[in-house]
């Protein structure tokens, strides 16, 4: 077997938003895999009774972990939007270059808005919301 030649991939394409869309799907997926561990940890704390749960919440109240949670929310929303785009492409919808570029832009726009909305709903204390 040995060293088989690989056709050029990473170095030869201009880095553009369409490429970023694709890479972010992979990175957000990785982040979400880690997020699954966070979810398991939170559920375990919940299962272990009130004091364990409140201790877990104390950890999550620290700003680095809040930033982490926000990152996970963003990763989730991005992966969701981009994943739907992928499923559409799998069904052979929007495969033309123009359509693909447009759907990439649409994905980013939807994600930014969704992060704003859900970030606000999840992270702004209930008492402060109008």
């Amino acid at each position: 077997m040995g060293e088989r030649p690989l056709s050029p991939h990473l170095g030869v394409y201009r880095f553009w938003y369409t490429m970023a869309t694709s890479i972010m799907h992979r990175f957000s997926g990785l982040a979400l895999a880690f997020g699954l561990i966070v979810l398991a940890w939170w559920l375990t704390a919940l299962a272990n009774g009130e004091s364990a749960y409140l201790a877990a919440l104390d950890w999550l109240a620290l700003w680095p972990l809040k930033v982490l949670l926000f990152g996970l929310l963003a990763a989730f929303l991005y992966h969701l939007a981009c994943g739907l785009r992928h499923l559409a492409l799998d069904a052979d919808l929007g495969f033309e270059k123009r359509q693909a570029r447009r759907s990439a832009l649409l994905t980013w726009s939807v994600v930014v808005i969704a992060i704003g909305v859900f970030g606000y709903l999840l992270f702004c204390p209930v008492g402060m919301r109008p």
């Binding site: 699954l36 979810l39 398991a40 559920l43 919940l46 009130e50 749960y53 409140l54 919440l57 989730f76 969701l80 994943g83 739907l84 992928h86 499923l87 799998d90 859900f118 709903l121 999840l122 209930v126």
Partner: protein, 76 residues
């Protein structure tokens, strides 16, 4: 006399073996996770997360434990 049909004898023997299975599993779990993930997100928004009793009750109520278990199983 063999009970296998000719088709049964050759399915899966080609070069791709069970290749498409992975692809299909990815797609079905993707759709399941879209629905389950959105459900979790929307549920978490409505929950008073600081209140242990409320969250604990929510986990046990109605379809919630089933959906949570499905989410954990499908995601992993």
């Amino acid at each position: 006399m063999s009970l296998r049909s000719p088709l049964g004898a050759v399915l899966g023997r080609g070069a791709a073996r069970s290749g498409v299975h992975h692809w299909w599993v990815q797609r079905t779990t993707a759709i399941a996770l879209v629905l389950l993930g959105l459900w979790l997100l929307l549920s978490l928004i409505g929950l008073p997360l600081g209140d242990y009793a409320a969250v604990s009750d929510w986990v046990g109520r109605g379809w919630n434990p089933v959906l949570l278990a499905l989410l954990a199983g499908v995601a992993a």
